[in-house]
């Protein structure tokens, strides 16, 4: 840069400069809440939920078992049985609440952290571990449980959900589609394009953003100047922020959004305001970028404890229920542990399987060459 060009530039108004990572313009959460952090029922003018004792116990059970599964997977990673794990700790209410709002015919497009939603869809949790162990890239049949494969590229699946929902609308079906993504993904172009497409085609899709406050080390204010749920307004559909640690509110709001979709009223953005209690994945070290007091503040909002308080206070469950659930958790953990350790490495020739549906001459050629190469070792051994 020349001296002249520097001089010609206007002086920076340094006194008025603000941090690039300043807080969103309105950071005051306007949460839909039906169950306070203290476990008290809260009235909301627009959303309510009326559940039986059995249903309330069911939500609690889902959250406890999902947390236990997640803890076991984290332990398995530490023991070297999994290459990586993306923990959902802290996000149980967002996932179980939204997951239990779905009908069987609805279709789910997850990221890679929706273990609780998978649980609600009836996907065997051991199926989720293959990709983290390194034996496949997903591997389950998405159509068995209407639960698509985990998607690792951030935000890509929101477009798949939108296209799928466009197809649902074409079919005249009265089911809905839900796309999960995180606060970091909200910055991706694909998420913006999925908002555009779904609004333009009035697609029956619910965008369920779990704002867990951190995209690895980047806080939400690095992603957005406005609360995320407000983004929807610019695309022409409603956005709602819900207490993501309140399973009742997540259930109620998601049910409402899915119903809108089924009724032909188009997309909705639900922002579940929650917190990732652990690391982004087991490769991450959150102590380098966030403070203990933040985590402690969120611990007080724990989704499982608050429902337990309600269950006890309103006498929906007794000690025998909690004891039995602890035992069921242990059984699940043991089953998961044993299943992971028993997972065989894939056959070497699996490299060439399912590259194409209709076959491909090059794959055939390389398969034959590799088979011959491997067979040559057997011959040497003879």
């Amino acid at each position: 840069m020349t001296v002249e060009s520097t001089a010609a530039r206007k002086p920076r108004r340094s006194s008025k400069r603000v941090s690039a990572a300043k807080k969103p313009l309105s950071s005051e959460p306007q949460l839909v809440q039906l169950l306070s952090p203290e476990g008290q029922r809260v009235e909301h003018p627009d959303y309510s939920i009326d559940l039986t004792s059995e249903e309330l116990r069911g939500l609690y059970r889902d959250m406890v078992l999902t947390r236990r599964f997640d803890a076991e997977a984290t332990a398995l990673q530490r023991q070297g049985e999994l290459g990586l794990w993306a923990s959902l700790l802290g996000q149980e209410a967002a996932q179980i609440g939204s997951g239990r709002a779905l009908d069987d015919d609805d279709y789910v497009f997850p990221t890679y952290r929706e273990h609780g939603v998978a649980w609600c869809r009836g996907v065997d949790p051991t199926n989720l571990l293959g990709m983290f162990r390194g034996v496949n890239h997903g591997g389950w049949d998405p159509n068995s449980n209407n639960f698509h494969l985990y998607t690792i590229v951030i935000g890509s699946q929101t477009l798949h959900a939108t296209g799928y929902a466009m197809g649902v609308a074409k079919d005249g079906a009265d089911s809905a589609v839900i796309a999960y993504f995180g606060d970091g993904a909200s910055s991706q172009g694909d998420v913006a394009e999925s908002f555009t497409f779904s609004a333009v085609y009035n697609a029956p899709v619910v965008f369920f953003c779990q704002n867990n406050q951190w995209a690895i080390s980047e806080p939400t204010e690095r992603q957005s100047r406005v609360p995320l749920y407000q983004r929807a307004q610019g695309y022409g559909f409603p956005g709602v922020r819900v207490d993501g640690n309140d399973v009742l509110a997540c259930l109620a709001v998601t049910k409402w959004a899915l119903e809108r979709a089924r009724n032909g009223e188009g997309p909705t953005l639900v922002e579940a305001f929650t917190y990732r209690m652990g690391a982004h994945t087991t490769s991450d070290d959150p102590t380098k970028y966030r403070h203990d007091d933040e985590r402690a503040a969120w611990e007080a909002k724990d989704p499982i404890l608050r429902l337990r308080t309600l269950l006890t206070a309103e006498e929906h469950a007794d000690e025998a229920f909690f004891t039995a659930l602890d035992e069921e958790s242990d059984v699940l953990a043991k089953r998961v542990r044993e299943a992971v350790r028993a997972m065989p490495d894939p056959d070497h020739m699996a490299i060439f399987e399912h590259v194409y549906a209709d076959g491909h001459a090059l794959v055939d050629e390389e398969r034959a060459q590799f088979a011959a190469y491997q067979a040559s070792f057997a011959e040497e051994g003879n």
Binding site: G139, V153, H160, M166, G167, K170, D190, E193, S194, Y356
Partner: protein, 326 residues
Amino acid sequence: MAAQKLSLAKALNESLRKALETDPKVLIMGEDVGKLGGVFRVTDGLQKDFGEERVIDTPLAESGIIGTAIGLALRGYRPVAEIQFDGFVFPAYDQIVTQLAKMHARALGKIKMPVVIRIPYGGGIGAVEHHSESPEALFAHVAGLKVISPSNSSDAYWMLQQAIQSDDPVIFFEPKRRYWDKSEVDTEAIPGPLHTARVVKEGSDLTLAAYGPMVKVCTEAAAAAAEEGKSLEVLDLRSMSPIDFDTIQKSVEKTGRLVVVHEAPVFYGSGAEIAARITERSFYHLESPVLRVGGFHSPYPPARLEEEYLPGLDRVLDAVDRSLAY
């Protein structure tokens, strides 16, 4: 309707019409494909006859077009997505490479991805930047994708039908400078296999291998060489992934010489792959090194320079002479 002379663009239009008639799951989608009929009119009249639910004008967002096409395929549809020009495919490249190409493998074969992406490609029409590129190698390099390109109206008609019927994602490169060339199409013929190369003209001294827009240039080169007493065999590869190496090998083992011609830059291009494989397969039959004629390692030039950049008759014949001089 049986045999008739159609422009390549009209043959594609008839092919899409046939596909829409045959299979209610086939959808056309892209920017301006509806009322306008596409900027090259390849989808002309289709929305009028099949409606907005089948021929879908999309928002101007390439990643969105391909990403939603993936979702529609997951729902059981067979989307045929149009990318308006070659240089505009890159916003969608992520969806094509990280999602479309891998979905079948990730599901261990339990789901299929019957998506066709039509891309008008290549130069020679005096267009502005990003409207004349040949990115086929970037797609052929990706496992899970199939990459094909017709050179004439009959192939345009039949290869597009076959691509739409395929359960694999197919990148269908249309040679835009040949859109207005007319040739015979027999709509009642029984088409040959999709990924098999065609011997356009038999010869004995040297093999010219090309695809898409360069097949015509190579055919003209062979005619010019014939006047000088040289007998050139011309192959239309038709498919860049997979490549029909058997047909190339057979030809090369007859002629002993091979020149590969494409518009795309030579460096890391499909000619490099063909040269390497044919050298492996036919080393003792080769009388000279496999030569390549193509674009330079430069951005596609402004229109006033494209005649210098694109392989023309003289550059092809020069390579033929160099090969024969060994």
